[in-house]
Symmetry: C2
């Protein structure tokens, strides 16, 4: 037999959720869901397997580390989703609203999705390969009302989780695009201005990692060859960027100064206007100004977003990074329909948030079982009575289990109840049966009370 | 662009759950969960990807149609779970209880799991390739109290779903094993009695499909060659089996007659005793006798179960087959530990049940959105006020959304609200703002009432 034995191992990057973790996570997710549903975000679920072409598109999107499913050469290749956004795009494209038949998805639409996504890092990387993501998106409107709602719903979700010290940082891709104009980025021989701008964004994105001086220096480096996209900015241009990144003050102050820096740069002015709207709207939805902060240094996946971008950090656990981030993107369904659709949304790493809240002591993991009451089987040949007691309690809405260990001595059953983590013990021996009573022991307070059996259900209500 | 467009298709055998389906399914699953939790079944979640060796064991368990993940030759092969039982076995084996450190899983343990499982049928088969399964198992006890709980929890779950006409059919593998003894199955040359018994079970399992006479005839066929496992039963043996399968009457009557048929066959007597215990215990847990029915013709995956087996059918939708079935099995963790562990449990096909309940008209799919109230944006430059109204409602526990369509004419917004499926409309134009009032329209009753803005939240409570 021994040689046939398989080790009960789990591949690296995957997790089991045993009851204490499951219950704590469930509580966390339901709290978040409740807030999102209060804003009218409708839940959807899409499969754990999609066509590879749906996920990766025609281009080889290998940066996503997609898990591929083995299929026969005749079958269309299958793979596992790496996010909820691509499946959202697919269902939007596949279910356009039909006003005559009243079917399909009516836009604008607030949708949320919570569930696992998959990334095939090497098992050695130590990264999650399956992790739960909570997404909320609003598709079908270009209004800043939508972006402000994402900010508001983030704020209220954090509050519902008991987090008090956090910041939602906001920026706008349009302002960053204005930077390129400000820096006079132009076509240079074979190299297009657009690609130089992207390279510039990539360098700016390193601010947090390498610091302002190194970023500034890198922006001025000469191209190595005629096809190099190095921005090679002038001293003047770098000075403007420095002035921009140096903007200080409260939100209003920052935006006012920003307007000046980008005088005459239409795209940036538009971006500033949008941020002002978001701040006003989110305030009307109960977000105090100190929680939403304009921060011109945040960028977030620069090739993807087209407007406002946001990220949320925990002030007492910044090492966990952005736990809720996103922004506006308009290319959502284009891959499927050829048409753009305005959308905005954010995504939360549930496992990362769970780890961060645990770190902050905000995650109650003390609930070991759903069971509230354990009924000891003390008296002989009374099993049917014990089962009946359990049924009565359940009917009164109490989760009750009958002790199933083989050794029915009081001591063993008592210890078992302790290790199970139930709160109450019901004890009814021959004496109690004779008297028609039952003993209830609260294992937390160690109090024990005797009562008529008929009063049992009421005791717990 | 057109040539880069990907069709927004879903592979066959996979489902999207858009809001009406999602919400109806969620309601169904939560009702079932509530019943199981009331019995102390603790929820767990295991990953969607496991080591292939965990799922398939050392033998090539290809009958399960496992989805394999593409991995590099250096990595341990990965695959997707086809049920919740094997991952349950893995976590039991990986987390033995440590009484000193108070860690691990304390047995006996009631655990439930709800989530998708995967079977790689051909896309053309029309079968689900991902489907949601709801499992409940009790590991670590051989007591019939556990088997009776599975019956009771099934009964109460069906009731909670509003199903009134269903039957839980019970049998015992031990009685079926007794049949082989009764039929004097013995080793025959190279062929072992055990294998002949299995073949006999396989033939009996066809009762529903081919009928009694054909089954009886098949049991008597001569072996084609010396290695054929054909039972080749005697006329006497077939008469006994016929008498057994013909047993009629209420449960007690059936079991009493069964005792007679199996006089002197110890294993069958034990099986009968177990069924009697299950009936008595489940009755104590509130299962009326008419819902649990002894049925000697049910067998269920014969190589797997070792004791009582059960299945649940809907009397008004028998075509959906068994929607909740299981039984006792003792080989749960042996693959991982080399030791047997007694366990019993059952598994529900959530998608099949959902289809069956829809068919029976028991599935309310009318809820189109989580949103209860839509606030129309009628007055100009009043967006912040509308957002504030929404916030106030949310604070009072009401799910409220602000209408986000671009065309803010009353008619368009009104139609949008209708198509979204919200129940209430809030209308506040210039007039209402001046008077400090708001109009609430109930879209179901078409009633419209005007009230002071301050009374709004109360109206919905």
């Amino acid at each position: 037999m021994a040689e046939d034995i398989v080790k009960p191992e789990r591949p690296g990057g995957f997790s089991d959720f045993l009851p204490p973790d499951y219950l704590a996570r469930e509580r966390m997710i339901r709290r978040i869901e409740k807030v999102f549903r209060s804003f009218g975000f409708d839940p959807v679920e899409t499969p754990r397997i999609e066509f590879l072409k749906t996920l990766a598109g025609e281009t080889s999107d290998t940066g996503k580390n997609i898990f591929h499913i083995k299929t026969t050469p005749d079958d269309e290749p299958l793979a596992m989703p790496f996010d909820h956004t691509v499946p959202l795009a697919r269902i939007l494209a596949a279910n356009p609203y039909d006003s005559r038949r009243k079917t399909g998805i009516r836009l604008p639409w607030r949708r949320m999705a919570v569930g696992p996504v998959f990334r095939s890092d090497t098992p050695q990387s130590g990264r999650y390969r399956q992790f739960c993501q909570f997404d909320a998106d609003i598709a079908g409107t270009a209004s800043m009302l939508a972006d402000a709602e994402i900010v508001a719903v983030t704020f209220h979700a954090m509050k519902a989780l008991g987090v008090e010290r956090f910041k939602i940082r906001l920026n706008n891709r349009k302002i960053l695009n204005g930077l390129a104009e400000l820096a006079h980025v132009r076509d240079r021989g074979e190299v297009r201005a657009d690609d130089i701008t992207k390279e510039m964004m990539r360098i700016l994105d390193k601010l947090d990692k390498i610091g302002l001086e190194k970023v500034m220096a890198e922006l001025q480096i000469e191209p190595a060859d005629p096809l190099d996209t190095a921005p090679q900015l002038s001293d003047d241009a770098v000075r403007s960027i420095r002035a921009f990144l140096d903007l200080k003050g409260e939100n209003e102050e920052k935006l006012r100064r920003c307007r000046k820096v980008f005088e005459g740069v239409a795209v940036a002015q538009e971006g500033i206007q949008e941020l002002e709207e978001i701040l006003a709207y989110s305030q009307a939805m109960g977000v105090p100004t100190k929680f939403a902060e304009i921060d011109f240094s945040i960028a977030r996946g620069l090739d993807y977003y087209t407007g406002p971008v946001m990220e949320t950090i925990l002030l007492d656990a910044p090492e966990f990074g952005s736990i809720f981030g996103g922004g506006r993107y308009n290319n959502l369904v284009a891959r499927f329909t050829g048409k753009e659709l305005p959308a905005t949304g954010a995504s939360m790493g549930v496992d990362r948030l769970f780890a961060a809240l645990t770190h902050l002591g905000l995650m109650d993991r003390s609930e070991q079982t759903v069971s509230q009451v354990m009924i000891l089987r003390i008296a002989k040949d009374r099993d049917s009575d014990y089962l009946q007691m359990a049924s009565d309690l359940r009917r009164a809405g109490i989760n009750a289990e009958v002790c199933l260990i083989e050794d029915t001595t009081f001591k063993r059953q008592f210890n078992f109840a302790i290790s199970r983590g139930v709160k109450y013990l019901l004890i009814r021996g021959e004496d109690e049966f004779e008297k028609g009573t039952v003993q209830v022991k609260n294992l937390e307070t160690r109090e024990q009370v005797e009562m008529p059996g008929s009063e049992l259900a009421n005791y717990f209500m």
